[in-house]
């Protein structure tokens, strides 16, 4: 599929429709030119652009805009069941009973342990205990991990085992935090951001909020461990997600080493063994 590095259809369509910014247009033109063995694309119109122009004309003739717009509005207003089923957002297909069950599960696991369950005795070391960023006291943000099994969800403590393919559900209690992020590192050194979802998103949380991440995390075949970090601050400034991820990536011993963050950040960790 991708061996010939064909320019994605979307970009060609966007080029034809004039929807690309100057930088991206130049990139796409260059790529199309290369596909055609040309120095520059405007020497000869790319076949694909030609096809699009002809196709636009043919489609608008076969399915005229006025009639199609009327059909679309009519379908939208009618809210046909067929439409509702074919493109129903995920939450609609989740039965209400399942939502109630999940909510019950969440409350059964609360209140969070106050003894710092997320600190994980197996991951502790003298170096870690002396680290100024490492927190293991009551009333601080908590990270909870559950593993889904056929018999229900099982709470995972630091040092517990899980296998590749196991799906983990992450939850946190923001407690006193105003900013929060969750990131993990595995036995191959791969770092994954779990919360927020993207590196350019805000880390702001509501103090006291209890949140389940909406997507489970399936463990892959990376060896030995997956170590989850919950990092927070009580300031109004967003956490520099990229910087923290780099620091996690740079740990010489990702399974045991302490994280040295700036003074406004604190963290807890849970290590899942494999």
């Amino acid at each position: 599929m991708t061996e010939d590095k064909r320019t994605p259809d979307l970009w060609v369509e966007q080029l034809a429709a004039g929807q690309l910014n100057a930088e991206k247009e130049a990139m796409v033109r260059k790529r199309l030119a290369a596909e055609n063995g040309l120095e520059r694309l405007d020497e000869r119109l790319d076949e694909r652009l030609d096809d699009i122009a002809r196709s636009n004309e043919a489609i608008l003739q076969e399915y005229p805009a006025r009639q199609m717009a009327a059909l679309i509005r009519s379908r939208s207003e009618a809210r046909l069941p067929k439409m509702g089923m074919s493109f129903r957002p995920i939450w609609y297909i989740i039965p209400a009973s399942a939502v109630a069950a999940a909510a019950a599960l969440f409350f059964i696991t609360a209140p969070f342990h106050q003894s710092g369950v997320s600190t994980g005795t197996s991951a502790q070391s003298a170096k870690q205990l002396s680290d100024n960023n490492y927190i293991g006291i009551k009333g601080t943000p908590q990270l909870r991990i559950h593993k889904q099994t056929q018999n229900g969800n099982i709470s995972i403590k630091s040092g517990d085992k899980a296998a590749p393919g196991d799906v983990l559900q992450l939850k946190f209690n923001a407690s006193t935090a105003k900013q929060l992020m969750i990131v993990s590192v595995d036995g191959r050194g791969a770092v994954t951001l779990h919360y927020p979802e993207a590196e350019n998103e805000s880390t702001r949380v509501t103090p006291g909020a209890k949140t389940s991440l909406p997507f489970g995390y399936e463990l892959d075949d990376a060896p030995r461990f997956e170590r989850f970090f919950l990092i927070w601050s009580e300031t109004d400034q967003d956490i520099d997600i990229k910087k923290v991820m780099k620091q996690v990536k740079a740990l010489p011993n990702a399974e045991h080493d302490a994280l040295h963050l700036n003074s406004s950040l604190k963290y807890k960790d849970v290590t899942v063994k494999k």
């Binding site: 599929m1 991708t2 064909r6 994605p8 259809d9 979307l10 369509e13 966007q14 034809a16 429709a17 929807q19 699009i52 196709s55 636009n56 489609i59 608008l60 399915y63 805009a65 006025r66 199609m68 717009a69 059909l71 679309i72 509005r73 379908r75 939208s76 439409m83 089923m85 074919s86 493109f87 957002p89 995920i90 939450w91 297909i93 989740i94 399942a98 939502v99 999940a102 909510a103 969440f106 889904q148 393919g165 799906v167 559900q169 770092v191 994954t192 951001l193 779990h194 979802e197 993207a198 590196e199 949140t211 389940s212 991440l213 909406p214 997507f215 489970g216 995390y217 399936e218 892959d220």
Partner: protein
């Protein structure tokens, strides 16, 4: 933001139909999906302020078509159609997990379906970086979403060969 359906259709309708034809390989289904796509556009009109209509429509069309494939159980015609069918029918971990705030999160964050991301990467040939830019996620986020799906697809591939 009010959507001028006729104007959007004139400008982007042919693009959407081409996409639906490419994925569904059936004219009637493609035209049906085209209409469904624009109905969805009317529902997500507020997103037009944030992103290019062509990108949004393209991804909506992909998702609509994947849902149609999932329910239709179409015949496998070639490698690409086979892959598309597998993506459409794969079990997604996110469907097994429910959170009390899921609905709000989805409305607020406009999450892209994993299947649509998979099609952009595995079928359309976009790199992870390109997909991430297209859907507004981090590369690690895209990779995380695709990881369980890739495992499933690899497993399906192995079982097909046995």
């Amino acid at each position: 933001m009010a959507v001028d359906v006729e104007s959007y259709y004139t400008q982007f309708g042919p693009m959407v139909l081409r996409r639906c034809r490419h994925l569904l390989k059936d004219e009637e289904s493609a035209v049906d999906a085209l209409q469904d796509t624009f109905v969805q556009l009317l529902r997500y009109a507020e997103r037009l302020n944030d992103e290019a209509p062509s990108s949004l429509l393209y991804r909506i069309a992909t998702n609509v078509c994947l849902n149609k494939l999932r329910s239709a159980g179409r015949k496998k015609e070639d490698a690409d159609t086979d892959l598309l069918h597998k993506i459409a029918c794969a079990e997604m971990p996110e469907e097994r997990f429910i959170a009390a705030n899921l609905m709000n999160k989805l409305f607020a964050k406009h999450r892209e379906s994993t299947r649509t991301i998979a099609v952009l990467h595995l079928l359309d040939g976009m790199t992870l970086q390109e997909v991430a830019e297209e859907v507004g996620m981090s590369v690690s986020g895209v990779r995380k979403r695709l990881r369980p799906l890739k495992s499933q697809l690899a497993e399906l591939q192995r079982s097909n060969l046995e």
